[in-house]
């Protein structure tokens, strides 16, 4: 334990995700030793981002105003929604330019071990959009891991009564990989998702 400002800095840094006490200490000392404008630039970038970046009131993605770029774009189909966990996932899918519709960012995934339940996600907002915009298809693009899968199951169950078509990104063999390295779970999912040729 240190005293005063350095300990305050360590405490603040160690609250960031993925930063343990040791990393926080290392970062704090790095910043303290760094040239003054380097630390200042970082501080200013944080403040500016905090002031200027908002979350889109429609989809929950990052935005520079009230609505994000995609939600402002009238050429984007509002009846197809691609549901993702985080803004970075929407950015990844957007780079591939495969979705003509819009996004809905949940803000995480159900993770009982981290105390994250459905009430912590933007699920009600999704149901409202589906009803309001006459959505015809919801594509669930949560991560293909345990938490993402549970989240997809939960959202799909909630959407069921609305009658909207709910699809899930296929899981299977990675493009560019070798079949012999595939595990049983991946293989069986690939088999379930097979298609006519």
């Amino acid at each position: 334990m240190y005293e005063g400002p350095i300990q305050d800095l360590i405490d603040e840094l160690s609250r960031l995700p993925g930063i343990g006490p040791k990393s926080a200490q290392r970062l704090a000392f790095y910043l303290v030793k760094a040239p003054p404008d380097e630390a200042k630039r970082l501080a200013e970038a944080i403040v500016t981002a905090k002031e200027r970046i908002f979350f889109c009131r429609e989809c929950g993605n990052v935005a520079e105003g009230d609505l994000c770029r995609i939600c402002r774009d009238e050429s984007r189909d509002r009846t197809v929604l691609c549901v993702v966990e985080e803004p970075k996932d929407a950015a990844t899918i957007e780079r591939a330019a495969v979705i003509k519709g819009r996004y809905h960012v949940l803000g995480g995934a159900i993770s009982p071990l981290d105390g994250v339940g459905p009430e912590d996600l933007r699920v009600q907002e999704l149901l409202d959009r589906v009803e309001r915009d006459g959505v015809t298809e919801v594509i669930l693009a949560t991560n293909p891991n345990l938490e993402g899968n549970a989240t997809a199951l939960y959202v799909a169950a909630l959407l069921k009564p609305s009658g909207v078509r709910v699809t899930r990104l296929a899981s299977g063999l990675p493009v560019g990989g070798d079949l012999e390295y595939a595990d049983e779970v991946t293989l069986s999912q690939a088999l379930e998702g097979r298609r006519e040729m």
Partner: protein, 246 residues
């Protein structure tokens, strides 16, 4: 022996850096082990789904100098796949993983705990009618295994039959003569239900159908007792009994 072979159940995995994860595994012979799986988050990782929580795996590990080992190879023994595909089973399984993680010690062999977890996950994978009861039966067994067996059918202090009060700090159900001031009331139905869950085989625990009100009462007693003795909040419990069923 820097390189060693173990089998175990993956309890959790946490992101590390850009593409790695730290997996926590309850092993058969080496207790709880935390190990780095390099590159696992890349879609072309050779680990694939092999190190997802709930999976019973056979592992090759490299013993690190610090607290973390490194996984060099993983093969699935049982994937317990139904737990991925049904929310109720998932929630019940998550509580088992969290509780095991809470009581297991790193690098301290605990074969009974490993086997208990494995039977718990197997029971869930068989798709029981009532996964919550299986999870609660599991919790009672885990408490007993950890030395916190709750007294349910007799006073924890004097052994008198038909106790009517409950005090976690006194070891469970207590009679009016022995109860300290913080004891709360407990119906004999709720205590009997918990005793039944404690006795039940994990495979059969999903067939006990307690009355809803009795169940709520018993559940509150059990969760309070568990958190008191394990000295921590069990984060996955609130989701077990409620909000995951839309």
């Amino acid at each position: 022996m820097p390189l060693y072979k173990e089998q175990g159940v993956v309890l959790r995995s946490v992101k590390l850096g850009e593409a790695d994860k730290i997996v926590t595994v309850m092993t058969q012979g080496a207790g709880k082990v935390r190990a780095v799986a390099k590159g696992i988050r890349k879609t072309t990782s050779r680990f694939g789904a092999r190190l997802e929580p709930f999976t019973h795996v056979s592992l090759m590990l490299y013993r690190g100098r610090g607290q973390l080992d490194t996984v060099t190879q993983a093969d699935i023994i049982a994937s317990h796949r139904n737990l991925r595909d049904h929310l109720g089973l998932f929630a019940a399984g998550e509580t088992m993983l969290e509780e095991t993680d809470n009581v297991a010690q790193e690098h301290e062999r605990n074969v009974r705990l490993f086997l208990l977890l494995l039977s718990g996950l197997r029971a869930l994978d068989a798709r029981p009618a009532d996964p919550v009861s299986v999870a609660e039966s599991f919790l009672l067994k885990l408490l007993s295994l950890s030395g916190f067996h709750p007294s349910l059918t007799a006073c924890a202090v004097c052994g008198a039959p038909d106790p009517t009060l409950f005090a976690s700090g006194q070891g469970g159900a207590v009679c009016a003569n022995c109860a300290e001031h913080d004891a709360g009331s407990a119906s004999c139905e709720a205590l009997r239900m918990l005793a039944e869950l404690a006795e039940a085989d994990l495979m059969g625990a999903g067939d006990i159908h307690p009355d809803e009100q009795v169940r709520r009462e018993g559940r509150a007693l059990l969760y309070g007792f568990a958190e008191y003795h394990l000295e921590r909040r069990i984060k996955s419990l609130p989701l077990l009994s409620g909000s995951l069923a839309p």
